[in-house]
């Protein structure tokens, strides 16, 4: 069954079965990679934050550059009002990025290739952003669905479309990340399988595809984390600065 390209996405229990009441919360390979990613982030950034030298060394430079990268991303898209949410977006970006990148290691499990994980993140963001919007603007937040400068005739249609697009945000956000990660890993697995089945004679073509795809997937892993974070910023911007 190992040649099945979907096999890599299987979740299986590691260690004993843990039950909380009647629900199964056993430690799985997915949990393992969540823990590994979080630990890696904490270790790297702790090392980068520990030393306080005027001229940073490599790991300090890495952490400071990521800090200013995310800070710039937030201030560019959501303005200065989004500063209190910096640490959440930073954690989100780093978590998704590290999960994606750990997934690129052969035999590793990609946490973000599971719709339930990305959907939970997206749903949390959606609910959080909606709560922030209503807290900042009260019922005025509903003006988000009524764009200004639209003729009265079109208004009912536009409002319906706006509401649908707003409600589909968590789905589009989660499916984008999940589908990208799953499709990339499946494709790599498929081409890897062709290398074996075509053998030494014909295996070179899929092998070269595999090599190119690895580079592409690393790019996609970074890009999807960035897109996830920047879309969060844009949603936050809608909630903080009501533009419509």
């Amino acid at each position: 069954m190992a040649s099945n390209p979907m096999y890599q996405f299987n979740v299986y229990r590691i260690g004993p079965e843990i039950k909380l009441g009647s629900v199964d919360i056993s430690f799985t390979n997915a949990s393992l990679f969540m823990v590994i990613s979080s630990l890696a982030i904490l270790i790297i950034f702790n090392l980068g934050a520990k030393k306080k030298t005027l001229i940073p060394d490599k790991i300090q430079l890495l952490s400071e550059l990521s800090y200013s990268f995310v800070a710039k991303m937030i201030s560019d898209t959501a303005g200065s009002k989004a500063k209190p949410y910096f640490s959440f977006i930073f954690s989100l970006f780093m978590f998704v990025l590290f999960c994606n990148m750990f997934g690129m290691i052969p035999y590793a499990f990609t946490v973000t290739s599971h719709i339930i994980v990305t959907f939970m993140l997206a749903a949390f963001i959606f609910v959080g952003v909606t709560i922030i919007g209503f807290m900042k603007h009260g019922l005025g937040y509903l003006k988000l669905f009524v764009p200004s400068g639209v003729p009265m005739v079109l208004l009912p249609l536009i409002v319906v479309i706006e509401i649908i697009s707003y409600l589909s945000r968590p789905i589009s956000l989660s499916v984008r990340l999940f589908a990208n990660m799953m499709a990339g890993h499946t494709m790599m697995k498929v081409f890897g399988g062709f290398v074996i089945s075509l053998g030494i004679v014909g295996g070179w073509l899929p092998l070269s595809f595999s090599v190119a795809l690895t580079g592409l997937e690393i790019l996609v892993a970074f890009l999807q984390a960035y897109v996830f974070a920047i879309l969060t910023c844009i949603y936050l911007n809608d909630a903080l600065n009501l533009h419509h």
Partner: protein, 192 residues
């Protein structure tokens, strides 16, 4: 050839997927809800811990670090500006000193020159005076000599002519008449 291979690859790939989905009851493991709760649970725990530790411990440190670096750099720039100003002041002072000393040197030089010129003029005047005196003296002597020599010559000429006449004629001639003749002759010579 390449196109054929690619098409073949995709066809086999598609067939592979089809058999896989047919063989497995759930299809994608992602849609199997067996471990959904577990994944949500561990996601909340890991992401929660990550978020809390980053917010409370690590990010403030990094931001502190960046802030201190920024302020330190600003401070250093300020210090450098101050030092630059100071050095500019010192350069100005130094240039002033050089200019002053140049002027002083010029005035010293001028003074010395005037002194020397004065000295030279004085000495020259003294020398001129001495020379003039000497010249006057010599001229006087010369004129004396000239005046005296005319009379002497006349006298000698008269005496010589008296002797000559005595030798030639054998008798004495009145010396006063001879000297009168000599005087006449010398006058004629002078006129000539």
């Amino acid at each position: 050839m390449l196109k054929k291979i690619v098409i073949l690859l995709f066809v086999t790939c598609f067939a592979c997927f089809k058999t896989v989905f047919a063989a497995e009851s759930g299809g994608m493991p992602q849609l199997n809800p067996e471990f959904w709760i577990s994944q949500i649970f561990w996601l909340i725990i890991t992401f929660g811990i990550l978020f809390i530790v980053l917010t409370k411990v690590i990010l403030p440190k990094i931001s502190d670090n960046l802030e201190t670096r920024k302020s330190q750099i600003l401070e250093n720039i300020e210090k450098a500006d101050k030092q630059k100003e100071e050095s500019q002041k010192k350069i100005d002072e130094y240039e002033k000193i050089i200019l002053d000393s140049k002027l002083k040197a010029k005035s010293y030089f001028n003074e010395a020159r005037e002194k020397i010129l004065d000295d030279i003029n004085k000495k020259r005047a003294a020398l001129d005076k001495d020379l003039d005196e000497e010249i006057d003296e010599v001229e006087k002597e010369l004129s004396d000599l000239k005046n005296k020599s005319g009379e002497k010559i006349n006298k000698i000429a008269a005496e010589t002519s008296a002797e000559l006449i005595k030798e030639l004629i054998g008798e004495e001639v009145n010396s006063s008449s001879i000297s009168a003749i000599v005087d006449d002759q010398s006058k004629i010579n002078k006129e000539r």
